[in-house]
């Protein structure tokens, strides 16, 4: 603050950093080595840059693994350039000219932050620092008590210093902090005693209770949201999201102007059930069990439609379970096979290693040149043999896995195919054991469980609607219409073509919606399948390559050991 500007501000350039790193790096013998080799910035763990008259933080992007950074006693005005230092645990920016807290959003590992003696007036932008334990904000310009409430979100915060701020002059300062930050242990370098905490809690009990209540509500809301999102994710994984309610039905009518108009016709309302035109109702989940079987006859169009959707939904979830189980078994088996193969490989290598050491020693101790040569030849034969053995093992595993993967591929494609077919109802549902089960268990439902049945239902509804419309038109023509129709509806009943077109348009929109949903389901399930299989194949190839590389590397190493011995002997 009252810094003397007698020295010129310095720039954080490479030279400065190198110097600092060199000075703070290893010493003595290790230091000589370090000097010889140079220390890469990305390996440096701690860096001290105090009293350097730095104005701007810069050039720090290379220090990726830095844990501790000291930039105190400079003339820094803005926190910047620290985005790459994600491993930072300790950051000291005290005695600078910082005015606002910013640029710390990526430092999620930060535990100790010191901003002592700056010009900060507001505590914020610290949300990312979830591990924060020590926060030093003394000698700043913080004036509002409410800043302290912001600190409630840091569950790990134990030490706080705020002395030298305008807030600290408030006579209630200590009590307030004690009350609002009950987990705090040290305030302004002093331990808070329990008695004090109790007093503070009593004093501020009401406001804190209120605050807690609000926080709890928020928390609950967040959790709800989370749970809902997770559920939706799960449904999406089963490709039947939003089929467990009226969503599809509602969306059918959402863009259908004519339909909503027509629903006001006498008779159509009953057909649709009391259906609020145009406005999608909030998703209501009707488990089909709530509906009485005896009511089947009186089911309206909407009810029937929703039941079909629910059936598809349940079926989808079941199929998803099945696919998951299949995948798990497959993965387990593959893992086991690989494990077993690796064990064999390890055993072979261990055996070889013993022999290897012995023969290397033998060669070393052998004095006769001809013997050495024969031994070397023998040993290199051994190495080749090992290579062959390991490669055979690997090839064997590859073959075995290929077979297994192919089997899995067939099965999973079958499963997906069955699912799609059943949803599209290309085959009668009864062929699927699961489907049969559900149909047998609820015979009142076997009227429909597939998209095709949705369409049938829609067609049926369309016919009925058309009938009603034509009836009304006839009535109107005959002048027998005793009810008043809204104007926009009446405008449709000008002639037969118009009304038929309107009803047809509505029908087309509905069918389109159903088709779209079906297409979406089918494409997604198919792409999931392809992706999965691709990944499995790719993983297997990667594994194979890695293993082959590993084996070659090892053989090379062993061979080179032998070779170096040869040269050594030749030199001797």
């Amino acid at each position: 603050m009252n810094r003397l500007y007698d020295m010129e501000p310095r720039v954080m350039d490479d030279e400065m950093l190198k110097l600092a790193v060199g000075q703070q790096g290893p010493q003595e013998e290790a230091g000589q080595l370090a000097k010889q080799e140079g220390i890469p910035f990305k390996d440096v763990l701690s860096l001290q840059l105090d009293f350097q008259n730095i104005l701007r933080i810069d050039n720090l992007w290379q220090f990726e693994s830095l844990r501790k950074l000291q930039l105190d006693n400079n003339i820094i005005e803005k926190i910047e350039g620290l985005e790459n230092l994600t491993h930072l645990v300790w950051l000291d920016l005290s005695f600078n000219n910082i005015e606002a807290i910013e640029g710390l959003d990526t430092l999620v590992n930060l535990e100790d932050l010191s901003l002592f003696n700056n010009r900060i007036s507001k505590i914020d932008s610290l949300d990312a620092l979830v591990k924060l334990q020590v926060l030093s904000l003394g000698n700043n310009h913080i004036g509002n008590m409410m800043n302290i409430i912001y600190l409630r979100r840091f569950k790990a915060l134990r030490t706080l210093s705020l002395s030298g701020n305008p807030v600290a002059e408030n006579e209630d300062y200590k009590m307030f902090i004690c009350a609002y930050l009950p987990d705090l242990v040290y305030l302004d370098f002093r331990r808070l005693d329990d008695h004090m905490k109790e007093l503070a809690e009593m004093k501020h009990q009401y406001s804190i209770d209120e605050l807690k209540h609000r926080e709890n509500l928020m928390q609950a809301q967040l959790e709800d949201e989370q749970a809902r999102r997770e559920e939706l994710e799960e449904h999406k994984a089963a490709f039947v999201e939003q089929l467990n309610g009226t969503f599809l039905f509602d969306s059918m009518y959402a863009e259908d102007m004519e339909g909503s108009k027509l629903s006001n016709l006498p008779g159509v309302g009953e057909l649709l059930e009391t259906y609020p035109s145009g406005q999608p109702t909030p998703q209501a989940v009707h488990p089909p069990r709530q509906l009485q079987p005896s009511l089947t006859a009186s089911f309206t169009y909407k009810d029937k439609f929703v039941i079909i959707c629910l059936n598809i939904f349940e079926y989808g979830l079941k199929q998803q379970e099945k696919r998951k189980a299949e995948l798990e078994t497959f993965m387990e088996c593959v893992q086991e096979a690989i494990q077993e193969n690796q064990e064999q490989g390890k055993l072979k290598i261990a055996k070889f290693e013993e022999k290897h050491l012995l023969s290397l020693n033998a060669i070393r101790e052998e004095s006769e040149l001809s013997n050495i040569e024969t031994k070397i030849v023998e040993h290199s034969e051994d190495i080749t043999a090992l290579l062959n053995v390991l490669m055979t093992l690997e090839m064997q595993l590859v073959e075995q896995l290929e077979e297994t993967i192919n089997m899995f591929e067939r099965n999973i494609i079958d499963l997906v195919g069955l699912f799609v077919e059943n949803v599209q109802s290309l085959y009668p549902f009864l062929e699927d054991p699961l489907g049969r089960h559900s149909c047998l268990a609820r015979p009142w439902l076997n009227s429909g469980c597939t998209m095709a049945q949705c369409r049938d239902l829609e067609n049926h509804h369309h016919e009925k609607l058309l009938e009603i419309a034509i009836n009304i038109l006839e009535k109107m023509v005959k002048g027998e219409m005793d009810e008043d129709l809204p104007d926009d509806l009446r405008s449709l009943f000008i002639d037969k073509d118009t009304i038929v077109n309107a009803v047809g348009a509505s029908h087309d929109i509905h069918l389109l919606k159903i088709d779209n949903r079906e297409d979406e389901l089918v494409t997604r399930v198919n792409s999931w399948c392809t992706h999965l299989l691709d990944k499995i194949h790719k993983d297997e190839i990667m594994r194979n390559r890695k293993r082959v590389k590993e084996i070659n590397q090892y053989i090379d190493h062993v061979q080179s050991e032998l070779d170096s011995l040869e040269y050594g002997d030749l030199l001797d």
Binding site: I39, F330, E332, E336, I338, Q396, R543, E550, Y554
Partner: protein, 872 residues
């Protein structure tokens, strides 16, 4: 009774005619009331006869075993029930005689029944009444196996006087316990009493046993302690192959060849098996060469335990001599005459042609088992209707049991006194606390705990040959050792000693196997690793190496192997210090540390100290088959300019499965090497400490062996001297307390009352005077006491002053000793004065209170209270 007797007489008269050779016996049963006497004479006759026979056979039985005869028993102190029979018992004897005579009539070719032998007082007693069911107050005796073991240990065996006949005498269990000797009948009676007391359905059996059984000859038995427990091989259940399990690689070997190979192997195996069997058969024959001429005739008594009670699943026999249990089909048991418990007596009516193998122990079946008394419970009446009816027609047998008078008659209570075993006797177990059993190729010796002062309780010596001359190995079991030694196993052939310890040894030793106690020899020590800070499980030593196994260490060390080189020539100067052998190589292995990635976690490191090399092998990553390796050469070199080379790239040879950037750096390698250097030092130090520890343990072991102190439980009131002293002290304190209490109740009015004329009632005047006198007296005493203390105080002060004066006068001439003396006197005197002062002030404080207390007591004294009431 009369009617029946007549009936029997008639019958017998009829039979006499047709069976001439049986006439003699018929006569004897003519007058059943006299039968008893006659029968005894008969048995004596037979005895004589037998004696003659016996003199021909004469089994060589040690003389001293025969000393347990009537003469040695002091019968004078035995209770009345031993010396005479009650009316009921007399009646029972009559019934038994009747039964016996009918039995001998019906089964003339069978041996007479063992019904009422004489007891130690020459009084005939029925066998069932000799059984005295008793539940012993020792938890060990609650189960049949420990109970039988106790009986077999506690009594020493005396062979039957005549091995072919039941004994004439059957002593009470109390007498048997007192003298700790008995024949098989005594053994089984005692065991049966205890088992019935413990709730078992047990019976004494009179029957025939093999020679080994009767003479308690175990030399043909394999010692149960030498048998190795059979390892139960657990078949691991194979999980059903999963859906996507990989197929095994194709087997390209020839099936036919495999089959041929298997056939060949089998043939060889069969041949071997055959040879082995033949060998075994030959051996067995050799062993069993001596056959017994009296096979099947030797009388023996044992215990039968029937299933049903105490969750016994199957009936079995217990041989009371050896405490072994046998199945009822065992070859050793050759036949059963009769059996009895405390309630009834059954005669076996089944044929014993095939030993006891086909006997059915359904005592409720009167065809198979003829009972003596009706009306007692029949434990196993499991007959079908048909059989029952069929039996009712069988009048021959029926007559024996169905005597109407006897229906309500039940067994009189036992004449034997309560069986008691004192805790001392129970602990000492064997007579004189020692017992030796000879088994086939083995000898077992047992001692009572604390009998041997080194804690030895059991020794099993195994021999190579049947004659027991060449010792194979010796096993010694110990108890109550302070060093927790449990078992010492000495192999005489290899010279290997193995000591086993219970938890609690000061060095947490579990097992110690060695050939000699000299250090740096072959030895293995196992430890209770949870009791050790360093988690050491096992340490193996050979003259050149030392291997240690660890478990559960924070640094994950699991194994350390040290190779030692030859010891350097010692310098004469520092001969007092230890001269450790130089270490050539240290190999350490580590468990996987889950906190580190596998390719940075060292699995094995080898310090080649002589070559100045360090080899590292890392753990293998889960998806790899090779592991990182690194080798450091520690040689310090100097370059051409004479500068020290700190680190060069050829000082570290490494193989990395996945080459990493930073490990190539010299700095990294240098730091790693420095760290390893330190760790090498540490490892060497630890190895050195281990060596020291071995020496320490060996020393400790030697000391322990020398001292072989025994621990004594604090609950063992007899042996634990300390607790005994403590208890005695407590008792003394209690006694003193009691005395003091008696003193406290002294009558303070007694001396004053004595002055008054006796026998007269106190007047009030007298009472008041009495009270006043008493109080005055007490006051005087208090004053006297105060004066006394005061006088002493003054005397002490004066003396001190004098002494001080003397000191000041002679201060210059005093020797230091005198001065010391004076000073110590001063401090003591000061102490005394201070104490006197305190006592005085205390007395002053308490005296008025004491006076008031006495006054109040006097007012309340029952003798004065009436008279003094007015003044209150």
């Amino acid at each position: 009774m009369e009617v029946l007797k007549e009936k029997v007489e008639e019958e017998e008269a009829a039979e006499r005619e047709e069976a001439a050779e049986r006439a003699e016996r018929g006569e004897k049963t003519k007058k059943p009331t006299e039968v008893r006497r006659e029968e005894t004479t008969l048995t004596q006759e037979m005895l004589r006869d037998l004696e003659r026979k016996l003199s021909e056979i004469e089994v060589s039985v040690p003389e001293k075993l025969l000393t347990f005869t009537k003469d040695t028993i002091d019968t004078s102190k035995l209770p009345l029930s031993y010396q005479s029979n009650t009316l009921k018992e007399e009646h029972l004897l009559q019934v038994a005689d009747n039964f016996s005579c009918q039995y001998s009539h019906l089964c003339p070719d069978r041996v007479p029944l063992f019904l009422h032998p004489l007891n130690e007082c020459e009084v005939p007693k029925f066998v069932s009444t000799t059984i005295r069911p008793t539940l012993m107050p020792y938890p060990e005796l609650y189960n049949w196996d420990t109970c039988a073991q106790f009986v077999s240990d506690f009594l020493s065996m005396v062979p039957l006087p005549d091995p072919l006949k039941p004994p004439l005498y059957l002593y009470s269990s109390t007498t048997v316990l007192k003298y700790q000797k008995g024949n098989c009948f005594d053994f089984s009676t005692l065991l049966c009493s205890m088992l019935i007391g413990a709730g078992y359905d047990a019976y004494c059996v009179n029957g025939y046993g093999s020679q080994d059984l009767c003479l308690m000859d175990l030399t043909r038995e394999v010692c149960p302690l030498t048998l190795k427990p059979k390892e139960t091989v657990k078949e691991e259940e194979k999980a059903p192959p999963k859906k996507y399990a990989i197929k095994p690689p194709r087997d390209l070997t020839s099936r036919f060849e495999q089959q041929q190979e298997v056939k060949r192997q089998e043939a060889i195996k069969a041949e071997e098996e055959n040879r082995r069997k033949q060998e075994e058969a030959r051996l067995l024959e050799q062993e069993n060469a001596k056959t017994d001429p009296l096979h099947g005739l030797r009388v023996h008594s044992w215990v039968l335990v029937l299933s049903g009670k105490r969750e016994v699943p199957e009936s079995f026999f217990i041989d009371p001599f050896t405490a072994h249990s046998y199945s009822t089909q065992d070859d050793h048991f050759l036949g059963i005459e009769s059996l009895w418990n405390h309630k009834n007596y059954w005669v076996n009516m089944q044929d014993c042609w095939n030993c006891c193998k086909e006997l059915v122990f359904d005592l409720g079946d009167p065809v198979r088992w003829e009972y003596l008394l009706l009306g007692t419970d029949k434990p196993f009446l499991s007959l079908t209707e048909e059989e029952d009816e069929g039996m009712n027609d069988d009048d021959d047998v029926e007559k024996l049991g169905k005597e109407d008078e006897d229906k309500s008659f039940d067994m009189p209570p036992s004449w034997v006194e309560q069986i008691e075993i004192s805790p001392e006797a129970f602990e000492t177990r064997c007579p004189n606390g020692k017992k030796v059993i000879q088994y086939k190729r083995a000898k077992l010796e047992k001692w009572a705990p604390y009998l041997n002062n080194n804690g030895l309780v059991c020794r099993l010596t195994t021999y190579e040959d049947l004659e027991c001359t060449k010792t194979l190995e010796v096993k010694e079991w110990y108890q109550n050792r302070e060093d927790m030694l449990e078992l010492k196993h000495i192999n005489k052939i290899t010279g290997l000693n193995v000591d086993y310890f219970k938890p609690g040894h000061p060095q947490a030793l579990r097992m110690h196997s060695y050939k000699s106690m000299q250090p740096e020899m072959d030895r293995v020590m196992e430890f209770y690793e949870t009791a050790r800070v360093d988690g050491l499980i096992k340490r193996e030593e050979t003259p050149k190496t030392m291997t240690e196994y660890y478990q559960g260490r924070p640094d994950f060390l699991s194994y350390r192997h040290v190779n030692f080189g030859p010891r350097m020539k010692k310098l004469a100067l520092n001969s007092a210090e230890s001269n450790p052998r130089p270490m050539v190589k240290i190999t350490e292995r580590f468990f996987r540390n889950p906190a580190k990635p596998a390719d940075e976690d060292v699995a094995e490191r080898v310090f080649l100290i002589a070559e100045e090399r360090i080899q590292l092998r890392y753990h293998c990553r889960s998806d790899h088959i090779t592991a990182n390796k690194r080798e450091f050469l520690r040689r310090m070199e100097v370059d051409s300019k004479g500068n020290k080379i700190i680190m060069t790239s050829d000082m570290c040879i490494s193989f990395e499965v996945e080459p990493m950037e930073h490990t190539k750096k010299l700095l990294y390698q240098y730091e790693a090497m420095m760290k390893l250097k330190n760790e090498e030092k540490l490892s060497r130090h630890q190895a050195w400490e281990s060596e020291l520890e071995v020496l320490e343990i060996l020393k400790l072991r030697e000391e322990e062996e020398e001292a072989h102190t025994l621990t004594i439980s604090i609950y063992d009131t007899k042996r634990n001297e300390k607790s005994k002293e403590y208890r005695e002290a407590m008792e003394r304190v209690l006694h003193e307390e009691h005395l003091r209490q008696v003193e406290a109740q002294l009558d303070y009015l007694a001396p004053f009352l004595a002055q008054l004329p006796p026998g007269e009632k106190l007047t009030r005047w007298q009472a008041v005077r009495l009270k006043d006198e008493c109080l005055n007296d007490f006051k005087q005493r208090l004053i006297d006491k105060a004066n006394l203390i005061q006088a002493r105080f003054e005397k002490e002060t004066q003396e001190l002053q004098k002494k001080q004066q003397w000191y000041q006068e002679n201060q210059v001439t005093l020797t230091p000793e005198d001065e010391d003396l004076y000073l110590s006197y001063c401090s003591q005197a000061m102490f005394r004065i201070r104490i006197l002062e305190q006592r005085l002030s205390r007395h002053k404080e308490l005296a008025p209170l004491k006076y008031l207390a006495l006054e109040e007591k006097l007012y309340k004294d029952p003798r004065l209270v009436e008279l003094l009431k007015v003044f209150v």
